[in-house]
C-alpha cells in the first residue's frame, strides 16, 4: 500500500515536472509574430486594475492586427497572471523574458508589482512599459538618481497630478483649508497625497488633517465624521473609484457638502453608479482625458470598447490601450522587433496619438502629457481646465 502510494506521488510529481518543462520549454518564436509579454494583475486583490488594463491592451492589439500588424507581422500578446503579488510578478517577468523570449513587456498596473522586476528587465535588457505605475521611483533609481534604461511608462507620475490639483484648488477654487483622506495601503494614493500636501502647503494653503483608510474598507463614516468636525473647505481623496464612490456618497449623507477631489483613480463609469449623480456634484478630478470628450479618437475608442466588452472603459483600460499604441509606434520606428532597438525607439517617442493624449516620453521615461481637470455635474464629467506638463 505504502509503496504504491509512493509510486503515485512520484508519478504525479514527475508528470507535473514534465508538464511544467513542456509548458515553459523554449517555444521557438515563429517569425511571423512579434511577441509582447503582459505581466498583469488578473487575479488577487487588484484584479480590477489588471483586467481593465488587459481589456484595453487586447482591444488595441486586435485593431492593429486587423490593420495588418506592424512591420508586416502580427502582434502576439503572451499574458500571465501575477496574482497581484510581487514575487509572482518577478517570476512572470523572468518567464516572459527567458522562456517566451518576448521583445518587450507591458508592465504591471501597480508600481509595487512593476518595481519587483525592474532589475530583472535591466539585467536581461528587455524594455518594460507600464500603463499605470505612477511611483516616480519606477523609472528612476532613487538611490543613484539614474534613469533605469529599460523601464518606461505611459502615465504621468504622482507629483504631477498631486501638484496640479493643489494649485487648482488654491488658485481656481480659492480654497485654503484642505483635508487629505488617502488609502494608506495603496502606494498610488499615498504618492498623490504626499505631493498634494507639499504643493498645497508651499503655495499658502493649510492642511488640517491627513486621514487614512484601507482598500478593504466599506464604511468611512467615522473618519468622515472626524473630518466634518474640522470644517475643511476641500477634501482631497486620492484613491480608486471602488472606495471613492462610497466615500463621496457617505460624506454627502453626513452633510459634508464641501468640494472634493481626486486623481485618475476616480475615472470609471462605476463611480457614478456607486456614489450617485447628486453626491458627485461639486467634485473635481485630474485625469488623462475624459471619455465624454467630443474628440473622435476618444469616441471611437469608447464605442469599440463598449461593443467588445459591453461596458464603458475606465482610465485603466484607456492607458492599457495607449501603452500598446506607444509600443507599436516604437517597434515601427525601430524597424526591427528586438528589445534593444525597441528600447532606443521608445526613448524618442514623440506625439503618439493615443486616446488619453498625445504621448511623448521625456528623459526620465515618463509620459509627457497634459492633464485635464474635470468636474462632475449631474453624473457627467465636464471639462474644467487643462494643465500643461
Amino acid at each position: 500500500m505504502r509503496k504504491s502510494f509512493l509510486t503515485v506521488i512520484a508519478v504525479v510529481l514527475l508528470s507535473f515536472l514534465l508538464l511544467f518543462t513542456s509548458a515553459c520549454g523554449n517555444k521557438s518564436s515563429t517569425s511571423d509574430t512579434i511577441k509582447i509579454g503582459a505581466n498583469l494583475e488578473l487575479s488577487g486583490n487588484v484584479a480590477t486594475l489588471g483586467q481593465s488594463g488587459l481589456n484595453g491592451v487586447m482591444l488595441a492589439v486586435e485593431e492593429i492586427n486587423a490593420a495588418g500588424g506592424v512591420l508586416g507581422k502580427k502582434i502576439e500578446i503572451v499574458k500571465y497572471d501575477n496574482k497581484s503579488d510581487n514575487t509572482e510578478a518577478a517570476s512572470v517577468a523572468t518567464r516572459l523574458i527567458t522562456q517566451d523570449k518576448v521583445v518587450a513587456i507591458i508592465g504591471s498596473m501597480t508600481s509595487g508589482n512593476t518595481l519587483s522586476y525592474v532589475n530583472i528587465a535591466e539585467t536581461n535588457k528587455v524594455p518594460v512599459i507600464s500603463p499605470s505605475a505612477t511611483n516616480p521611483d519606477v523609472t528612476v533609481d532613487p538611490k543613484t538618481g539614474k534613469v533605469r534604461e529599460y523601464i518606461f511608462r505611459t502615465c504621468f507620475i504622482d507629483p504631477f497630478q498631486g501638484t496640479a490639483m493643489a494649485k487648482f484648488v488654491l488658485n481656481e477654487l480659492k480654497l485654503k483649508k484642505a483635508v487629505v483622506l488617502k488609502d494608506n495601503t495603496a502606494p498610488y494614493s499615498v504618492g498623490l497625497a504626499k505631493f498634494f500636501v507639499e504643493a498645497f502647503k508651499n503655495n499658502g494653503g493649510e492642511i488640517l488633517a491627513d486621514e487614512n483608510y484601507t482598500s478593504n474598507d466599506q464604511d468611512f463614516r467615522s473618519v468622515l465624521t472626524k473630518i466634518k468636525g474640522l470644517n475643511p473647505e476641500f477634501i482631497y481623496v486620492p484613491g480608486y473609484y471602488e472606495q471613492v464612490g462610497q466615500i463621496v456618497k457617505q460624506a454627502r449623507e453626513l452633510g459634508i457638502n464641501v468640494p472634493m477631489g481626486g486623481g485618475d483613480g476616480w475615472d470609471s463609469p462605476k463611480l457614478v453608479e456607486i456614489a450617485g449623480a447628486a453626491p458627485l456634484n461639486n467634485t473635481f478630478i485630474t485625469n488623462h482625458y475624459s471619455s465624454l470628450m467630443p474628440d473622435p479618437k476618444v469616441q471611437d475608442f469608447v464605442k469599440k470598447y463598449k461593443e467588445k466588452y459591453g461596458s464603458e472603459p475606465d482610465a485603466m483600460a484607456a492607458v492599457g490601450y495607449d501603452t500598446v499604441l506607444v509600443l507599436v509606434d516604437a517597434i515601427k520606428r525601430a524597424g526591427e522587433a528586438t528589445p534593444e532597438k525597441i528600447k532606443e525607439a521608445l526613448k524618442t517617442t514623440k506625439d503618439v496619438e493615443g486616446v488619453t493624449a498625445k504621448i511623448s516620453l521625456d528623459e526620465n521615461h515618463n509620459a509627457v502629457k497634459g492633464l485635464v481637470i474635470l468636474e462632475y455635474k449631474d453624473g457627467k464629467q465636464t471639462y474644467k481646465a487643462y494643465v500643461n506638463p
Binding site: 494608506n184 487614512n212 478593504n216 464604511d219 463614516r221 473618519v223 465624521t225 462605476k270 456607486i274 450617485g276
Partner: protein, 294 residues
C-alpha cells in the same frame, strides 16, 4: 458631544453588519467547530443574488431578500454536503484548509463569470436622512433598517434555537454529536439545517450591505468575513447574543479609534482587542469557561 453621538451611530451601524454576518458564523461554528472561511463568500454570493433579483427579476426589496436567502440556504447545504461532510471526522486543520479552498473557489468563480469590477445596487430603497442637533448628527433610514433587521433576526434565531425542535436538535448536536445520534437525532440533517440557516443569514447580510453601501464585488467577503469572525469570537462563539454584542463592540471601537485616535491604527486595534479578550477570557465575553476533560 454631537460628534461622539455621530460616531456611536456610525459604530452601531457597522457593528450591526458585523453582527449579522457573525450570527451565521457562530451558528456554524457552534455546531461543527469549523471556522467556515467560506461564510464571507456566501455573504458575497447573497449580495449578488440580491442584485440579480432586483436587476433582472425586478423584485422589490423584501422578495429580493427572501430570494437571496433561499438561494444561499441551498448553496450552504450543497457546500456542506460536498466539501465538509466527507471530512466530518478528519482533523480540524484539514477541514479548515478545505474551507479556504471553498472560499477561493467561490470568490474566483464569481470573478471569472462576473468580472472583478464592483457593481452598484439599484436604489430599491428610498433614502431618507434624519438630522438632529442642527445637522450635526444624521441618521438614515437604511442604518435604522440594518439595526432593526439584525435585532429581529437575532431574536428569531434565538427563538429557533431555544424553542423549536430543530433548535433543540442543533443544541444537542453541538453539545455532543455522538450522544445526539444515540438519542435518535438525525445529525446530518441537523447540520444541513444549520448550514442552511447560517447561509441564509449571510445572504440577508449581503443584500442589506449591498443596499447600504451600494456596492457589491467578488472579494467583498474577505474582510467583512474576518471581522465578523472576530466579533463572533469576541462575544463567545456559538452564543447568539454574543455575536451581536461582539459585532457592536467591534464596530463602536473601530469608529472611536478612527474618530479620536488615528485612522491608521483602526484595523490593528481591532485585532489587539480580540487578542486581549482571548487572553483574558478565551471563551469570549458570554462564554462559559469549560474545564478541559482528560
Amino acid at each position: 458631544m454631537t460628534e461622539f453621538i455621530q460616531q456611536l451611530i456610525n459604530g452601531i451601524s457597522v457593528g450591526s453588519i458585523y453582527a449579522l454576518i457573525a450570527l451565521g458564523y457562530t451558528m456554524v461554528y457552534g455546531i461543527i467547530k469549523l471556522i467556515n472561511f467560506a461564510h464571507g463568500d456566501v455573504y458575497m454570493l447573497g449580495a449578488f443574488a440580491g442584485l440579480y433579483a432586483t436587476l433582472v427579476l425586478k423584485m422589490s426589496f423584501v422578495p429580493a431578500l427572501l430570494f437571496s436567502m433561499i438561494v444561499c440556504a441551498i448553496l450552504g447545504i450543497i457546500i456542506e454536503r460536498l466539501a465538509y461532510r466527507p471530512l466530518r471526522n478528519a482533523p480540524k486543520i484539514v477541514i479548515l484548509i478545505t474551507a479556504i479552498g471553498v472560499s477561493f473557489f467561490l470568490e474566483y468563480t464569481t470573478m471569472y463569470f462576473l468580472g472583478p469590477q464592483p457593481r452598484a445596487f439599484p436604489a430599491i430603497f428610498k433614502e431618507v436622512s434624519y438630522s438632529f442637533f442642527g445637522g450635526k448628527v444624521t441618521i438614515s433610514n437604511r442604518e435604522i433598517t440594518i439595526v432593526v433587521v439584525t435585532i429581529v433576526l437575532m431574536i428569531l434565531l434565538q427563538y429557533i434555537v431555544h424553542n423549536t425542535k430543530i433548535g433543540k436538535a442543533m443544541r444537542a448536536v453541538s453539545y455532543d454529536m455522538q450522544a445526539a445520534r444515540l438519542m435518535g437525532i438525525n445529525v446530518d440533517s441537523t447540520i444541513s439545517a444549520t448550514f442552511a440557516l447560517g447561509s441564509a443569514l449571510a445572504a440577508a447580510a449581503g443584500v442589506l450591505v449591498g443596499v447600504y453601501y451600494n456596492k457589491v464585488f467578488p472579494l467583498m467577503g474577505i474582510m467583512f468575513g474576518l471581522k465578523a469572525f472576530v466579533s463572533a469570537v469576541l462575544g463567545g462563539i456559538g452564543i447568539i447574543p454574543g455575536a451581536m454584542t461582539g459585532g457592536l463592540i467591534l464596530g463602536i471601537t473601530e469608529a472611536l479609534v478612527s474618530g479620536y485616535g488615528s485612522s491608521l491604527y483602526r484595523d490593528p486595534v481591532a485585532f489587539v482587542i480580540l487578542i486581549l479578550i482571548l487572553l483574558v477570557k478565551p471563551s469570549g465575553l458570554f462564554g462559559k469557561n469549560v474545564r478541559e476533560k482528560v
